[in-house]
């Protein structure tokens, strides 16, 4: 089981869903906070809903307020990067670039992509955590190869 878990995690890294930051989180996990990573990820998904909503609303406005969009995305990016959501973060960066150049279409497109990645990661992590809980307390995180 543990091996399965490790494989699952490894694939998440290999596929680029997660990055080094996730490992940092795992390293923080200990007896005091055995489910720290899950706790943080849950917190992230809960809080980012509000950010996603803000972005959606802002993208519906006409004309687009790029600086506001950029500001929202900045927050979202910060949050996402802190849990190691690599693909999401990449989309965030792309989005901000479009904001900088005032490319509304680019922003909207990227946002859709971002939402997809965001949702995909969420599902994958949910599975992962479920599995992890079954496996029991895991030993210290190991860096992905």
């Amino acid at each position: 089981m543990q091996r399965q878990l490790a494989t699952m995690k490894q694939s998440l890294f290999d596929q680029g869903y997660l990055d080094e930051q996730f490992v940092q989180l795992e390293e923080l996990q200990d007896e005091v906070n055995p489910n720290f990573v899950e706790e943080v990820v849950t917190l992230y998904y809960r809080d980012s809903v509000r950010l996603v909503q803000n972005l959606e609303q802002a993208l519906e406005k006409n004309p687009l307020d790029f600086s506001k969009l950029d500001s929202y995305m900045h927050q979202f990016k910060g949050s996402s990067s802190s849990i190691g959501a690599k693909k999401v973060k990449i989309e965030c960066t792309q989005f901000r670039e479009y904001c900088r150049t005032g490319n509304g279409e680019g922003c909207k497109r990227t946002f859709q992509q971002l939402k997809k990645e965001y949702a995909t990661l969420k599902k994958k992590l949910e599975v992962y955590f479920q599995f992890a809980r079954q496996v029991g307390p895991v030993e210290k995180a190991r860096r992905p190869k």
């Binding site: 930051q21 940092q24 989180l25 390293e27 923080l28 200990d30 906070n33 720290f36 706790e39 943080v40 917190l43 992230y44 809080d47 980012s48 500001s71 900045h74 927050q75 990016k77 910060g78 949050s79 990067s81 802190s82 849990i83 190691g84």
Partner: protein, 590 residues
């Protein structure tokens, strides 16, 4: 010089290491474990992660998602934190603004963080006085070393003087501790910082020299005086002989008869001493927080680092002063003497003050000071002293409790007096009329205050007592009365708020003073040592504020002041007397 203390590993193996002298220290033997960190970030995910990371470093963490709350926490627990980590982008308050406030009020090391790694933002952090800038996502390694900022600041606080001084006196626990720390730090990067800090200090000194048109060639160098025990003893003897109330720097200097000691040195030392006494006696808690006395040198050049003195005073003296306008009027807690962090030892602070004051003077740090220095209640006792500039300063310094020190510094700076003697204690708060006679006339009425303030404004609002100092102060005597009254009545910190906002504000007018020469240059008022930058700046600012122009004031919502000015202002003659030609006096409110 070589520090004798052997390096103590941070694991806290040595009982004496890092332990606060009186046991009140925050740092335990296991430093950096136990470091008290305040984290501010509106993003709950990041906040949680940071909290956990910091806890894993064995730090004591307090988290906070709003800047306002953070400030309140800091104000309510002066000395309750060692370092603050704050996000740059926050909805309720810009991180840099928070940084400024903290620097001015509490003078704690602040680390900024953001997902934004653009040079522009990082530079902003630097200019606002952040001691470090972390890029998100923050890693554990980055957080592990934040203790260095605390040490560094303390080290600067105690100054390099400690290194020399402590060895001599050997009586300063803190100094010893510092030494230990210093020795400990030798191996760390902080030693590199030390070098740079020294450089920066030197730079500051140089600036000060350049900035001040000090008549004293010897003092032009603004050397730091090391107040050894003997020297201090001589000082105390002189002060006692004169009587604490009557002790003015010039007289003290004469009595001490120490070669190479300048009036400014004595003045600044006196200021600190007064604070110290005040603290001892438990009166006027507003005093400058000894606690705050410490850190500042390090950040000196920065806005936030208001010369140690100022900040400290500010911080301690009152949260009231906070530019935020939240004058809580809480008398700053006098830091217990035995708190190692705080000044406890008179020597260090002295040293600090010296430095600080100098800095103030010219970096416009005064600005910072000024702003903050403006206590809500400005009861700056100003006693009319003899005409010596020092006295003037001393008097000015009086302002009780509150930040007077800061102001004093500013004032001093302007007058070329190095330290300003914050009125520590016995200074009565009479609103003596400051007599700008030096330059021209004496103001017998509070009107002078206005001017004084205006002029002084640069340094301390209201701090300047008006008196007849004629000669020395060169006309800057800021009259505190006006402000005092105004402030007192209104408790307005808001007024100053704008000012405090910024050193930036003060910068602008700089040329005003100089060029227009209104206050400073013209007539005899020329403030000699006025820190060119700050003073002029301030002056420039203030005059208009004071109401010559009245515009600023009104803008500032200083109805009281305007009113006051109106009351006291006696037509335009007032202006003329002062010879503030430089300033447009046309609009003087009548």
């Amino acid at each position: 010089m070589h520090l004798e203390v052997n390096p103590v590993p941070f694991a806290g193996s040595t009982a004496s290491s890092w332990k606060s002298g009186g046991g009140g220290g925050v740092v335990s033997d296991q430093f950096p474990a136990g470091l008290r960190v305040l984290v501010v970030d509106d993003d709950p995910t990041c906040l949680r992660i940071l909290e956990k990371m910091l806890r894993n470093c064995l730090y004591e963490v307090t988290k906070c998602s709003r800047a306002e709350v953070a400030l309140k926490l800091l104000r309510d627990n002066k000395d309750g934190f060692d370092v603050v980590i704050s996000d740059v982008h926050m909805p309720d308050m810009d991180g840099f603004k928070l940084l400024e406030h903290i620097g001015l009020e509490m003078d704690l090391p602040v680390i900024m963080m953001s997902a934004d790694d653009s040079k522009r933002v990082v530079m902003k952090g630097v200019t606002h006085g952040a001691c470090d800038y972390l890029i998100k996502p923050v890693r554990m390694e980055a957080l592990k070393n934040i203790w260095q900022h605390v040490i560094r600041r303390k080290k600067h606080e105690w100054g390099d003087h400690n290194e020399k001084d402590v060895e001599q006196s050997g009586s300063v626990e803190d100094g010893e501790r510092q030494q230990k720390q210093l020795s400990e730090n030798d191996d760390y990067s902080s030693s590199a910082n030390e070098g740079s800090c020294k450089n920066s200090k030197k730079r500051k000194n140089e600036d000060e020299e350049g900035g001040e048109r000090d008549e004293d060639s010897s003092s032009s160098k603004k050397q730091r005086v090391v107040w050894t025990t003997e020297l201090h003893q001589q000082f105390v003897t002189a002060v006692n002989q004169l009587g604490i109330d009557k002790a003015v720097p010039k007289k003290i200097l004469d009595l001490m008869n120490v070669q190479g000691l300048t009036r400014e040195n004595v003045a600044s030392h006196l200021q600190k001493y007064r604070l110290y006494l005040r603290r001892l006696s438990g009166q006027h808690h507003n005093g400058i927080g000894n606690s705050f006395m410490g850190p500042t040198d390090a950040t000196f050049g920065q806005l936030t680092s208001v010369n140690g003195l100022d900040l400290q005073s500010l911080a301690s003296s009152s949260s009231q002063l906070s530019p935020l306008g939240r004058s809580t009027n809480r008398t700053p807690v006098s830091v217990p003497l035995n708190d190692p962090r705080n000044i406890f030892s008179f020597e260090s602070p002295n040293i600090r003050f010296v430095h600080g004051q100098q800095q103030q003077q010219h970096n416009g740090v005064n600005r910072g000071n000024l702003l903050h220095g403006i206590p809500t209640n400005m009861n700056m006792p100003i006693h009319p002293h003899s005409s010596q500039s020092n006295s003037l300063l001393t008097q000015m310094v009086q302002p009780p409790q509150q930040r007077n020190q800061i102001f004093n510094d500013g004032v001093f700076g302007q007058n070329g007096i190095d330290g300003f003697a914050p009125a520590y204690t016995s200074i009565p708060q009479p609103s003596s009329v400051v007599d700008f006679s030096r330059s021209q006339r004496t103001f017998s009425t509070p009107v002078n205050n206005n001017f004084g303030i205006a002029g002084l404004a640069s340094s301390n609002k209201g701090m300047l007592p008006q008196h007849d100092i004629g000669s020395e102060i060169n006309g800057f005597v800021p009259t505190c009365d006006v402000f005092t009254d105004v402030n007192q009545n209104n408790n307005r910190t808001d007024d100053w708020g704008f000012q405090s906002v910024g050193p930036t504000t003060f910068e602008a007018p700089q040329h005003l003073n100089v060029q227009s020469g209104g206050l400073v240059n013209n007539s005899n008022l020329v403030p000699q040592n006025i820190p060119s930058d700050s003073l002029s700046r301030i002056r420039g600012e203030r005059l208009p504020d004071v109401g010559f122009q009245n515009s600023l004031f009104s803008d500032q919502d200083d109805d009281l002041l305007s009113t006051y000015i109106k009351q006291n202002h006696q037509d335009g003659s007032f202006d003329n007397e002062f010879g503030f030609d430089g300033y447009p006096l046309d609009d003087l409110p009548v």
